[in-house]
Amino acid sequence: MSMYIEMIRVRFLMMLAYRTNYYSGILIYSINIGAYYFLWSAIYGGKEQIQGLSVAQMTTYVAVAWMARAFYYNNIDREIAAEIKDGKVAIEMIRPYNYLGMKTMQALGEGVFRLLFFSVPGMIIVAMIFPVRFDASLTTWLFFFISLVFSFIVNTHINLLTGIMTFFLFNNSGLIRAKRVVIDLFSGLLLPISFYPDWAQTLMSYLPFQAISYVPSMIFTGGFVGQEIYKALLSQVFWVVILLIPIRLLWSLAKKHLIIQGG
């Protein structure tokens, strides 16, 4: 266990070492949220509400969605793909830890780093400039953080799956890119799921992606209340558990199937 905590720490420190881009990163982050704010203000025009969200809630939704993204987003799929391609994965597999577990811990180290050094300062800047509301109640913050942890796990599960697919596709950059695009759209990062036509909402309710961005953002903005919050959290737990099955399956298949390309 302490080994895994050490991995989080090491990755965190590694991120800390590369620090020239903190400031520019935070600035770009704020510009990004700002641009969305104006885009949404233009979309709202004079309207009070669209799909039950006011323009202030919508701005908060966007800001929180991006803040959450900094935490759950990671590139372990690309790292796994690279390690499979240069054959490093063979060495990793004989080491005394679980390879996928290690990758998850590294992702967590990165996520915690981004949350502290990107999201938090970025949010402070954004809150000073735009009408974003962070005055949610303590329970809302609590539910938000719980759901954020599940977001991280679901997203990491999906990244592990895409990474493992390299064993079967050999070169995996296409799938990795497709995955990123699908997550941005279907997770509710760009648009709340409630804005979609009904048939699309039904379709998306069968996919794991809303567990990544839509749930935490809706909880935070008060788009979900009472029972809805528990239902949303339960759906996240559901995907956390269900996604383990294909990961275990593909991983044990991959181990039998290992082809080192070159090296």
């Binding site: 770009i28 510009i31 104006f38 596709l169 050999f170 804005f195």
Partner: protein, 261 residues
């Protein structure tokens, strides 16, 4: 001539690799299509809830998006340097590049071409075609030439910005999260510039001039005369930003000392 034949040799090598990893190539083309669809879906869904965006209607916005796809496709086929820092500086590949007898930037462009991204230009033309069918606009014969000039200008602006960012690698060997964020910002050039506040308008026009890759040049074809001044400035901005990028690159290469060893 030497540069041109090198280009074709690299391109044919590239096609061979792509054919080796056939499944991935197909997924990659599909993922590009999906990426283009996502933005279109965004526009379509947004216009389910509003009729105008800063005075522009749905089909005009779709046209702007279609236009944007063409220079973007050219940029992403030939200037795929978003992982320059990790690949060339951190891993020390730059040392190898500098031993080659061609300009270092050209060498990297050759190594990193992604010809399948050109499919995006076709999607862009189709999207524009769809918008034109719903809009009442006429074209003159010379509009084709203007289109080509604007597209090249836009691609150069993109290339200029991303090459400039890549050159940060020469001064600091840190990994950078700037590039992926920049892709997000580049999206805002596709929406009517007048919806943003003055600061963002200024940034998108003069600092990260992504508006010149979408809304400004497209407004020429949409007969939005109030934006013509900016529209015709597109090629100038292209040359300017690409020029700055080359200067930064050359200065960076001079400074480059190699990573370790």
């Amino acid at each position: 001539m030497f540069y041109l034949s090198l280009f074709f040799q690299y391109a044919s090598q590239y096609l061979k690799t792509r054919l080796t990893y056939r499944a991935d190539t197909i997924i990659e083309i599909l993922s590009d299509l999906l990426f283009q669809a996502v933005n279109l879906i965004f526009i379509v869904i947004v216009f389910r809830h509003t009729a105008f965006l800063g005075g522009w209607n749905r089909d005009e916005i779709i046209f702007i998006y279609g236009f944007f796809l063409v220079p973007y496709a050219i940029f992403s086929s030939f200037f795929n340097i978003w992982d320059f820092n990790e690949r060339y500086i951190v891993k020390g590949e730059m040392d190898r590049i500098l031993t080659r007898p061609v300009h270092s930037l050209f060498q990297i462009i050759l190594e990193r071409i992604e010809l399948e991204s050109l499919f995006g230009a076709i999607t862009g033309l189709l999207v524009m075609g769809y918008a034109i069918m719903n809009l009442d606009i006429n074209f003159a014969w010379y509009d084709v030439l203007i289109f080509i000039v604007m597209v090249i200008g836009g691609a150069f602006i993109y290339a200029g910005i991303f090459i400039s960012i890549a050159t940060i690698g020469f001064w600091s060997d840190s990994r950078t999260d700037i590039m992926p964020m920049m892709y997000n910002i580049s999206n805002y050039g596709r929406y009517p510039i007048n919806i943003y506040n003055k600061v963002i308008q200024f940034v998108l026009t003069w600092i990260l001039p992504f508006a010149f890759v979408g809304v400004y040049p497209a407004s020429y074809f949409l007969n939005r005369e109030e934006w013509y001044g900016y529209a015709f400035f597109t090629p100038v901005m292209g040359i300017l930003f690409f020029g700055i990028a080359i200067l930064l690159w050359n200065a960076g290469v001079k400074r480059y000392r190699g990573a370790g060893n």
